[in-house]
């Protein structure tokens, strides 16, 4: 069976966007319509007529009807709204798989990690420079304590980052 080229797929996607398809459904609809077109091409229609036929069926009315049904069906219930975060509400009809949702969800955690790591590194650098400058080193001096705190901070941040990374991997593999 012949497959659609990227240019042909872009044509389908453009048509859907012009007709107001929401982005929660877009990639799925592109695949759906592409399958239909490939089916028509396979039974002998030239690509252009297959495209016209499929796009005529998926016209503005059909796509708008879909978006409306979608909104009716998937609006968060009051109960769900009580527990929903701002991210859940912002992304209610959006494509969560695209990545922005995950980035936002992880933002606070990443910020905390980065801050801890940054502070730790500054402490390490300061104590190191102090140690080199004064040419003596004791873990029990202020410099030594700064070194230890910095080291702890960086280790903790790295540990948390690694832990999160492993968890994410495990979750997607599930």
């Amino acid at each position: 069976m012949t497959k659609l080229t990227p240019q042909q797929l872009a044509k389908v996607q453009g048509h859907l966007l012009r007709n107001g398809s929401g982005d929660a459904l877009l990639s799925e609809l592109v695949d759906h319509l592409a399958c239909e077109i490939e089916h028509y091409v396979w039974i002998g229609l030239p690509f252009e007529s297959a495209l016209d036929k499929v796009l005529m069926d998926a016209n503005a009315i059909a796509v708008r009807h879909l978006s409306e049904t979608y909104r009716c069906e998937l609006t968060l219930s009051d109960e769900q709204l009580q527990q929903a975060s701002l991210d859940d509400i912002v992304f209610e009809f959006r494509n969560k798989a695209y990545g922005a949702y995950d980035l936002r969800q992880a933002y606070r955690r990443n910020l905390g990690n980065a801050l801890m790591m940054g502070l730790g590194m500054v402490l390490l650098l300061m104590s190191l420079m102090n140690g080199i400058g004064t040419k003596n080193w004791s873990y029990l001096s202020t410099t030594g304590l700064m070194w230890i705190t910095g080291l702890l901070g960086v280790t903790l941040a790295l540990g948390r980052w690694f832990h999160q990374h492993v968890q994410d991997k495990y979750r997607t593999a599930e």
Partner: protein
């Protein structure tokens, strides 16, 4: 079945989708429409406008999980049942079968009436 068929279909769409997924394991949207078409010999055609809202709703309710795979340069979203989804599939199918039974007895003329008309 034309538009009147669609009216009956609307309430049973969830059951159909759950049942198909419990038989096939992992399916994508177009595959579901084709499977319905084949098995009913073209009597029932699901439009994408009816199918995708139901799929996403079932996913939101925790009955389905999805998995996106790149196929031929586009993203294909596969749906499969969660354990809770499998339970619901069994339950919905048996409820629907019961409903069909009840409907059949309702549509048959009662035996007394049948004998009177003869």
């Amino acid at each position: 079945m034309e538009s009147s068929g669609n009216e009956f279909l609307r309430g049973t769409l969830k059951t159909i989708v759950l049942k198909l997924l419990s038989e096939h394991g992992r399916m994508y949207g177009y595959e579901i429409t084709q499977s319905v078409k084949e098995r009913t010999q073209g009597e029932v055609t699901l439009t994408f406008g009816a199918l995708y809202p139901v799929l996403h709703k079932l996913e939101q309710e925790g009955f389905l999980v999805t998995e996106s795979v790149e196929v031929d340069g586009r993203l294909r979203k596969y749906y499969s049942l969660t354990p809770r989804g499998s339970e619901t599939a069994v339950q919905k199918v048996s409820e629907f079968e019961r409903f069909v039974e009840v409907m059949r007895t309702l549509l048959q003329p009662p035996p007394s009436l049948a004998s009177v008309s003869r």
